[in-house]
Symmetry: C2
Subunit: 161 residues, 2 copies
């Protein structure tokens, strides 16, 4: 039964970072979201869309179903901030962020410990034999770190960090 404690710890860590991001981004006005994390670097709205796109892509990666919004990738993953026109309003991003996270939470809740240790969908059965760390659990830890990485950047726009 110790398995569940390791899983709880990882989900707790995911939720802490996700909640911190939600609180930060949802607390800003449309104008506030135009701020850059440093001169000439990504704007906050871009990083919010970027994190939403990465979360959305987790849905098929963890085998929870099809992506909800693959159309995010062109604006928020494949291209740099301001490189292509952004058709998404702040309201769109907020809606996608919430919905995507709901789907992930529901998926997480259904996984058994053994399923957490199964391969994610972008590694083949053959490669997984050689690299058994390429499992769902490892993806969760890595993506939690990715949120923390960008949180560190967005927090620079706060007066007191």
């Amino acid at each position: 039964m110790t398995d569940s404690q390791f899983i709880d710890a990882a989900l707790r860590n995911w939720n802490i970072n996700l909640d911190r991001a939600t609180k930060f981004f949802e607390g800003l006005s449309e104008e506030g979201l135009q701020a850059e994390v440093a001169p000439g670097r990504n704007r906050l709205i871009y990083l919010w869309g970027h994190l939403a796109a990465v979360n959305d892509a987790l849905i098929p990666l963890l085998d929870f179903g099809r992506r909800l919004h693959p159309e995010l990738d062109d604006v928020f993953l494949k291209n740099a901030d301001r490189a292509v026109e952004n058709p998404f309003s702040v309201e769109d991003v907020r809606h996608i962020w919430r919905k995507t996270n709901e789907v992930l939470q529901a998926g997480f809740a259904e996984l058994s410990p053994a399923e957490w240790l199964q391969r994610h969908t972008s590694v083949s059965e053959e490669d997984f034999q050689k690299e058994p760390h390429r499992n769902r659990y490892n993806v969760l830890l890595g993506r939690t770190g990715h949120i923390a990485y960008h949180l560190g950047q967005v927090m620079l726009t706060r007066e007191a960090d």
Copy 2:
């Protein structure tokens, strides 16, 4: 035996972030380490010392022994960058960073799964009964995220991020 897979995943994640930080900081000149992550914000040398102090404080928190360098805290934890005089040279910080991380690696390697789930030393036995998530494993995940958080900031000083 699945316990060890959860532990391997967390240690892998720790090492990825730690190695990235080491590579970044050790690749810079003394002058390069004076750069600020954003105008008026922390300098790189401060963040390196800050992460070294947090790692050093993990030694007693995880019950691996006494701290090696509690004198870091005044400069890198309790005060903001440039608020107090910094008596540590870049060479000092590099040496402390390496040594502290060696002690942590040795400690990690000796823990059994059950020991990973034991309380850390800043929570009492009584509180731990109510909050069993306050264990060593949870500390490792949290501190890994803390490194990622500051990595996101220091990477802003790179031309292409």
